[in-house]
Each structure stands twice: as C-alpha cells, then as structure tokens.
Symmetry: C2
Subunit: 460 residues, 2 copies
C-alpha cells in the first residue's frame, strides 16, 4: 500500500499545474448565487463539475432545485462510503473597486515567503477547497483506475444564500446520498503550518424580548423615581445574565456541559495560538468569558450569552426626559455539547420573568435554535484522518473548534443521520467574502495530497 500511496501522491504533485488550470476554469464562471443575473453562470458551474466528474468515470448528473441545481456523483469502491459535500456558488465580488486583480480572472501572485496566491473570488470559498477532493480522486483514478473506497459527491449552488434547497433535497434523495460520513472542505487550518479537523461547532438559541412597564411613555419630571423604567429593568435583566467571573448566570445552564477532553485541552495548550493578537486585532485585550479559561476555550468549547441589539426610549438628537414604557433586546446563547436549545430557551424566559417587577410584562420572540455539533474523538474515521493529515504536513493535526454553527451540518444530521468530518485547508487571512480573496497554492497542493492520504487511510 505504501508504494501505491507514494505513486498516487506523486501523480497529484505532477498534475498540480493541470489542477490549477482546472481551478482557474471553474473560477472564471462567476457563479454568484444571490444575483439572478448570474443564474445561468450557476448552472454552468454545475455542468462544469458534472462534466469533469463524468470524465473521471463518476456517475454524475445535474439535479434541478427551485433555484440553483445540485450536482450528484457516485463512484463504486470498497467500504467505507463517504459523501463529499462542497458548494460551487460564490459571494458577489462587490465592492469591485477594492480588488487589486479582476475577481473572476484568477491571478497567480508570487509571495515573498515562496508561496503563491491564487487571487480570485471563490479561490478559497469554496472552489479551491472542493477541487482538492476532486483532484485527489483524479490522482487515484490515474494511478489505479479506481478509488480505494466508495465515494459520492454533492455540490450545491446556494450555500452563500443559506442553502434553502439543501434540506428538502437531502430528504428526497436520502437513500441515494446516505453514507458513513460527510466530508466537508470549507474550513481553515490551525495556522499556516498545522492542519486541523474542526470537530466542535457551537449551537445557538436566539431570542428577542420586549419589556413593558407603564401603559405609555411618562415624563420623568412628574413620575421620575416612582414609575418603573422599562430600560432600567432591561439593563438589570441583561446584567444579571453574566456573573462577575464572566460565566453565564442562568440556572442549570452548565448542567451537562462537559470539560474539554484532556487530550484536546493538552493539545490546545501545546499548539500555538496568539490570544493577545487575536483580541488585539479587534482592539481588545481582556478576555470577557469565564475567568481561568483560555480565549480558545471560551470561543470554541464554552457556551456564552451575547446581546446583539438593544433599543428603547428617546434615541434622537438632543435630550428628552422620557421614562420609556417599552424596552427591546435581541440576544443569543451559543451552546456546546450537552445543552438542549429548548431547555436553555425555557430557562432564559423563566430567568427574565423572575427578574421582572410585578407590574412589568415581557413578550418573547424566538429567533432559531440548534444544538451544538460535536464529533466524537474516538471515531475511527476521525482518528485515521488526523494521522493522514499529520503525515502530509509533518505536524500533528489539531482538533479544532469553531464558535459558530455551520447550518448545513444540521441538514445532514437531521435528514440523513450523518456526522460530518470538516477537513479544510483555508487560512485565516484568505479574505473570504471580501475583496482580494485568495487561496495559497500550498493549500491547494497539500490539500489534494491530504485527501489522497485520507482516502488511503479510510481504506486501510
């Protein structure tokens, strides 16, 4: 097997220029999903993928949806069975005037550190990343005529517009698409040198609250002191939700929340992460979460409470001594494994009600709820992928988290009962969604080789 793997890896490296040319072809199709003027481009990108995969021997087809089509492809092989997911749509390129190179004409830019940037919209998100997997399959096919495991692929064209067709499509094509694991290549490495698999994604509970005190706005010259002030009540409610030590002060909130596995905690302590730089870049210096927990742990592995918007009373120019009758806030909780969104929502509502004076009322409006997604560390495929990545990059692969939720994962979990393995080669400075997006040629090259190794490892 080792000889064979070396041959496939060599084929991947030898084919890199051709792989870059194919990436350039895909980038040149401006498949901006949000813009109806680019609907035909989205269709062209789907057809381009289906044609490439068919040429590689995949049973590939373009499938219509209510908006932009899906691409589905299958290739036989021994178990296990993986479903690779990616998206061919991209964000708009605006504002165009900030681009230093044409957004849909990929430009290779040599960098002082010896790497090369592939500069273009979609170079990283997600055309470069999804092609790493296709080009890995190409190398296997070129050397062996087949694949070491059974592979299906699914590409959508609506990821940048919240994937409205994904969940219904998965439900409809459940039998065809169900596999042992979903592979997703849309995340970052730990840093330039250290590969990573993202195994923890926090969940979210969103709520909007409207507190009502008096039946109308009052004048503080008449009622000031004796009349309840809705904004004061709201401030007290919001302040009561964070303890002085930075923890979330909601009854039962941490029940079921487990400590970071020792292995991961030890790895994070070992791995380079510049917490001061991370906060310093945005003008901050004091971690706001639970005292004694690292910034990484606060952002990836601990639940939180955030206030996203507050409004009420007189907010115009000048001054008005009104006692506002109503006060509003939009808030959310980020959740980790072991927390139930609806239990947190109920605890939040009970907490707010318990903090209200007897003559105030509150109205709640839910804004979504989803649990955290966590890959079990003892999964065989995860372990194999970590080893394969470590071998390609020459550094122990990191088990990483992300502070946000990745909505498509919920669709795979809810519709197909599948866990996802997030292996990505992006870098923090790739400027995804922004002008001058780029993907490093080394990301692309070692990304392809990483998948070559992961496919071999899964087969082993």
């Amino acid at each position: 097997m080792n000889d064979l793997l070396e041959k496939v890896l060599a084929a991947a490296t030898d084919g890199l220029d051709a792989s870059v040319n194919r990436l350039a072809d895909l980038i040149r199709i401006p498949s901006v999903s949000t813009d109806p003027a680019h609907a035909a481009d989205c269709r062209r990108a789907a057809e381009w993928l289906a044609a490439e995969l068919a040429a590689l021997g995949f049973d590939a087809s373009v499938r219509p949806t209510a908006r932009h089509p899906m691409v589905v492809a299958h290739a036989a092989g021994p178990g296990p069975h993986v479903l690779f997911y990616g998206h061919y749509d991209v964000q708009p390129a605006d504002p165009l005037e900030l681009w230093q190179t044409p957004p849909f004409e990929p430009t290779l830019i040599a960098r002082p550190d010896g790497d090369t940037w592939i500069a273009a919209r979609g170079a990283s998100d997600d055309k470069g990343q999804l092609l790493t997997f296709i080009e890995a399959c190409r190398a296997w096919k070129a050397v062996t005529g087949g694949l070491p495991i059974r592979v299906s692929m699914l590409f959508e064209g609506e990821e940048e517009i919240s994937s409205p067709s994904l969940a219904p499509f998965l439900a409809e094509a459940a039998e065809e698409l169900r596999a042992d694991v979903v592979l997703v290549c849309d995340t970052d490495m730990w840093d330039r040198d250290i590969p990573a698999i993202t195994t923890m994604m926090r969940g979210l509970v969103g709520e909007e609250i409207e507190i009502t005190a008096a039946n109308r706005d009052l004048h503080s010259g008449i009622f000031g002191n004796a009349a309840r002030n809705a904004l004061q009540v709201l401030a007290e409610v919001l302040a009561s939700l964070r303890a002085a030590d930075g923890s979330v002060a909601l009854s039962g909130f941490y029940d079921g929340v487990r400590e970071l596995p020792g292995e991961v905690a030890a790895q994070w302590a070992r791995l380079p992460f510049d917490a001061a730089g991370f906060l310093g870049d945005v003008g901050l210096s004091v971690p706001a979460g639970e005292a004694g927990r690292s910034v990484l742990e606060q952002c990836w592995a601990r639940p939180s409470f955030e206030v996203h918007g507050v409004w009420g009373g007189f907010t115009g120019e000048g001054f008005k001594t009104v006692i506002p009758a109503k006060a509003h806030a939009k808030v959310s909780f980020r959740l980790v494994a072991g927390q139930d969104p609806e239990a947190v929502r109920a605890a939040f509502r009970a907490h707010v009600r318990a903090h209200l004076p007897a003559d105030c009322t509150v109205r709640f409006t839910p804004h979504g709820g989803s649990p955290a997604t966590v890959m079990p560390l003892d999964g065989v495929l995860l372990r194999k992928a970590l080893v394969a990545l470590g071998e390609e990059w020459g550094r122990e692969a990191a088990v990483a988290g992300t502070g946000g939720s990745i909505p498509i994962l919920n669709a795979f979990r809810d519709r197909l009962g599948m866990d996802a393995l997030l292996v990505g080669f992006g870098r923090f400075d790739n400027r995804v969604h922004a002008p001058n997006e780029k993907y490093d040629l080394s990301s692309f090259h070692h990304g392809i080789r990483s998948w070559v190794r992961i496919l071999a490892a899964f087969a082993g």
Copy 2:
C-alpha cells in the same frame, strides 16, 4: 384692615363677569409663540396686556426682544416689592379636529358639579392664571385707588418655546425688575379643594454616554464569549446605578440630601393623595424608588436616576449575531436641595469609568445641569401666603413639590438672585398643551380672591 379686605374681596366677586370677559378677550388673540404666522398675534397680546395695565394706573410698556416682546409694568406702593411673572403665549391648538369647541373662542360649559369650565387654548396656561393676579390688583385699585404693596409685573411671550429671551432680558433690566420675590401663577392646586404653594422643584443633570469595546462590530460565531460586548457593558453600568432597594447607587449621591422637614412630611401624610391611583392610571402598581418612601416623596423630594434612551447593535427586523462595538444611552439624575449638579456629573462619570473593563472606553456628552430650587419654609412671605390661601379656600394650604425643574426659575435666581413663590390654581385635569384645555371658573374666581388676600397679607 379686615373690613377693607372684605370690601376688596367683594369687589373681586362682584367684578367676576367683567373679569371673565377680559379673559375671553385675551384668549381670542391666538398668541401661538412657536408659529411665525402668529407673531403679530403675540405682539397684540402684549399690547393688550400693556393697555389693560396702563388703564389700571400701572407704568406699563411693551419691550422688544429678538422675537416676541416682553410686557413690563410697575405700580408704586409700600414694601415689600413683588414681581409677578406670567406668559401670554400659548401652545398651538393642533390637532384641531380633537377640539369640541373652537380653541380660540372661549366657551363656558356648565358642569354637573355646579362649576363652569372656560374652554379654550390658554384658558389655564397661562392666560387665566396670570389674569387672576391682574384682576386682584384691579379689585384693590377699585376699592382703595392703589395697591397695598409695591407691585411690578413681567409677561413674556416665549415661555412655550423655552424662553430664549428671558435670561438676557433679566440681565439687561436687572435693576428695574429686582424685587423681594417673584410671584408665579402657572402651577396646580393639590386637588380641587386644597390650595397649594409649590416650594420644591427638582434639578437635573443630563448625560449621554457612548461606550466603545472592540474597534469594529464582531461576529459572535467567531468572537462570542471572549470579546467584550459593548451592550453588555452598558447594561451592567446602568444596572449598577440602582440598588436593589430602589436607591441611586452612586458614591456620595445622598451626601447633603436632607430629610423632608417634619412639618411637610406630616402634612403630606395628612393630605389626600391616591398613590395607587397615580401609578394605576399609567398601568403601574409597584413604586420603583427607595423602599419605605412614599410615592409623593419619591417624585418630589428624593433624587433619582432615569434611563431615557438606549441604542446599539442590530435593531432591525430579524436577527444578526453581531457583537456590537458601541453602545449608547441618554440618562439623567433629578436632584434635590443639597446636591450640586456638577458634583453629581463628576461622580457619574467616575462611576461609569470605574465599571468599564480595561479595554473599553467611554465618551460623555453633557445635556444640561441645574440644581434643585427650594423655598425655605420659614420665609415670611411663604408663611403669609399659606395663611391667606387657607383663609380663601377654607382648607389648610399644602406645601407641594414638583418632580421637574421650571427653567424660568433658574433665570430669576441666576440673573436677579430672587426666589420664587409658585401659587397656582390649575387642576390636574386642565389638559394644558392638549385639545380641550379648560380652566374652572372657580379656579379663576378664588384665584383672584386668593391674590387679593395675599397682597393684604404681604402688606400686614
């Protein structure tokens, strides 16, 4: 003296119909100060007053200002010397469709309780009230040919537009206008039956704050927990300013604040005030101020902290998981005697700064500051006026407060060093500034007679 007083009182009562006719004449001049189209009407109202006073033997004149003129009048007499202040301008009548009678055509409406309403814009605020004093002088002149004390009068036409010319005019005419006390007739009785002198007006310190955390808005999916949230910081600052017992939690805030004089406290406890009804009318039931203090005391005699407006983050439709970089609030403190506005402002700013995490900053914008105004209870003129009112109404006159400041009083204090005596005959249901403003004929009648008695008492 008693015989003489009875004669003057009888003259006031006998002349009531003629007094009402004069009030009607003044009301018919639509002296809306805010509307440039009514500038000539304002001038007409000033000229009407000057002519009436000249006919009564006053040395009366109309004095130009940058906008609407002042009326100044003087009549000789023995000491003390009082300056009566009133305003001839009125609020606009809009919305006209809500008036049941023409706003500038006074209508007498007989009421089931035997009283009569004089319905019109300005009937109460302030044409009816200011004429009570002029008609009292008329009764004295009619019976004795003179006045029992020295009287000056000042009427402005800009009270409803914040009196921009008053302070400069007072400064310019200081020597001419300085007297022993300013008499103001623009306040309410305690209730329909109980006369009152307003002796306490709270001061105000207004502040706007802008708290900045990060150097830009952040995504809670990436930074949530570790990055400081400006709205959370603001909520904690605002919550920290009210203690659980309803008191203001600002260092040194109550230093120098004295307890209500025992005599006043005893009177307030004796007088009818429906605290439950006062709060119930606006949909509240739990007094929000210091525990153990009555609603009246909270509103009139205790300092307070109020939040007038808060804004920050995402406040539109839907939901956005932003960690806002900035949070804003407009707040004020109502002050009582013994509190220095600038000391309170400095304590507030120090308090906010002390509650800020090290990586947050705050910007303050002042919105005015004025100390409380309190008439000493042992003042001779106040004591005499209370007795005179009690005799006219057959009930002990109340020493009242008002929760708001009355800006013109600051002008008299700052420019002329004069205290004010606020004797008014308005009722809580007079709908000043609103459609269907009215003044009770009994307010007008007993108001005139009250001033007749007060002038006598001051002379005694």
